[in-house]
């Protein structure tokens, strides 16, 4: 096992109940960094996280988490905090009961820190879980994770449905968490703007397969956005267009950077944002837009 990795998935495959499958999923995160797991709804982000946490059995490959092979010892969960897009606590528990209930399970539970964090997040100990807003619920789950001194925080779509202020607060909380070099974060989202500020590494997932993984800069360098009139894109030869979007004013698509050199002067080539990369990759498996022949589109097979 590799000690300086927060986690690693190597050739992971699994089939879940609804027929969806992960195939040959491989990516890793060094300790001390934030990785964004980006994909459209249904791309496989949650299934990947469930496999990583040992909640979902795998059929091939191997998973390493904090130096242990998954499924590892139960005590490994002392070091992992999980924040989902919903609370997984009894709705009628007060926040003081949450602490009383969870504290016995964690060796390093810090009751003082829990109360400090609730105060910092503006959460009342007497409030009930079911009465918290989505943003407040997410903060509660973060408070729980930080109170048992987790080394790895796993967020699964924590910002979906949050307002910009709450999303900004979350970014600040993650920044504080990362002040300790032994701490790492996996952050699954389809809102890529969250990663622009805090993401060190990015993994793109689509249809249960990893499209690309690497540092954020590598990912941004790997693609270019090409814009032009519909005819101009249609006439491109030897270039694979990823997720063509067409409108009355023109068309745009993603291309691999190494293929951008083949483009003529009639189209505009720009460095994409993470969001543009995610959008075009998400579009790549959908029905082709009118006007561009099917053969001009790439497939992520």
């Amino acid at each position: 096992m590799t000690g300086d990795l927060a986690f690693a998935l190597r050739g992971v495959g699994c089939v879940v109940g609804n027929g969806f499958a992960l195939r040959d999923v491989s990516f890793e995160l060094p300790t001390g960094y934030v990785m964004g797991l980006i994909g459209a709804n249904g791309a496989g982000k949650t299934t990947t996280i469930r496999c990583l946490l040992g909640m979902q059995g795998i059929e091939s490959g191997e998973i390493e988490l904090l130096g242990h092979r998954v499924p590892g010892p139960v005590a490994l969960r002392q070091d992992v905090g999980v924040v989902l897009d919903h609370t997984y606590l009894v709705g009628d528990w007060r926040l003081s009961e949450v602490e009383r209930t969870l504290r016995p399970f964690y060796d390093r539970w810090d009751a003082v820190r829990y109360r400090q964090l609730l105060e910092e997040f503006g959460l009342d100990l007497r409030a009930k879980v079911k009465d918290l807003s989505r943003g407040m619920g997410m903060k509660l789950m973060i408070a729980v994770a930080l109170s048992h001194r987790a080394r790895l925080l796993v967020f699964d779509e924590p910002t979906s449905g949050l307002d910009p202020v709450a999303r900004d607060e979350l970014v600040g909380i993650i920044g504080d968490f990362l002040l300790d070099e032994g701490h790492s974060v996996l952050f699954s989202t389809h809102i890529t703007a969250d990663l622009d500020r805090i993401g060190d590494y990015v993994t793109l997932i689509h249809g249960g397969r990893i499209v690309r993984t690497g540092s954020k800069d590598e990912i941004l360098d790997a693609y270019r956005v090409v814009r032009g009139g519909p005819d101009e894109l249609r006439d491109l030869v030897g270039v694979e267009l990823i997720g063509v979007k067409e409108s009355s004013s023109g068309a745009q698509a993603l291309v691999r950077t190494e293929e951008a050199d083949f483009l003529g002067g009639g189209v505009l080539v720009e460095v994409p944002t993470l969001e543009e990369i995610a959008v075009h990759i998400g579009l790549s498996s959908r029905k082709p837009a009118a006007g561009v022949p099917d053969g001009r589109r790439e497939e992520f097979a």
Partner: protein, 206 residues
């Protein structure tokens, strides 16, 4: 505190906010059976104890506690044993309370209570409870409360009642079999826990 004890406390805290519902059912059963002391303790064991044992699953489905169990440093075996321990402890509490209440009612109605007939009632209650729980918990663990709540409560009850009717059990006829009833109940629960362990593994894979 052992891991199973911690899990049992977690289950207890899970249902604690909803204790009023259990108290209402308890009150209704006591009201109905208050003139038939023979039926009170078995009725509590057959109707209330399984409801209390199943209630954590109902709350778990609603609050996604399966995720909590997977995130907490708990093995699946511990989660399972915690549910069984909760079922047993709640049964004990219900039967002790029911027995005390029945003794008070007997005194108030100047009826004989205790001795061998009480031992028989308690044994019958244990057997009814054990059979019911042995069927119910593996189903709840495998499928969750939402998918099989009707199946989990109705079918075991119907099976037990049918058996009682067909065999024409009465208190006299089972007195010689009391030790066997206790052993059979315990064996049923142990077998059930083993089955539930398999069911739990299957649920994780699906």
């Amino acid at each position: 505190m052992t891991a199973v004890a911690r899990m049992t406390v977690l289950v207890m805290r899970t249902v604690a906010p909803y204790r009023t519902q259990g108290l209402v059912v308890f009150g209704v059963i006591v009201l109905i059976d208050s003139r038939s002391l023979v039926g009170l303790i078995p009725a509590l064991a057959l109707l209330l104890a399984p409801l209390v044992a199943a209630q954590p699953f109902m709350v778990a489905d609603k609050a996604d506690l399966q995720t909590l169990y997977a995130v907490l440093p708990l093995s699946r075996r511990t989660v399972l044993l915690g549910h069984y321990a909760w079922a047993l402890l709640s049964f004990l509490a219900i039967v002790i309370t029911g027995t005390a209440l029945a003794a008070l009612l007997a005194q108030a109605q100047d009826m004989p209570f205790g001795g061998r007939s009480l031992a028989t009632l308690l044994t019958l209650s244990w057997a009814l409870f054990a059979v019911n729980i042995s069927i119910q918990l593996p189903l709840l663990i495998r499928f969750g409360y939402t998918r099989i709540s009707v199946l989990a409560t109705t079918v075991p009850l119907a099976l037990v009642m049918l058996a009682v009717i067909r065999v024409h059990l009465d208190l006299e006829s089972i007195q010689d079999w009391l030790p066997l009833f206790w052993v059979a109940g315990a064996a049923a629960l142990a077998t059930s826990a083993a089955l539930a362990s398999c069911a739990s593994n299957q649920r994780q894979r699906s």
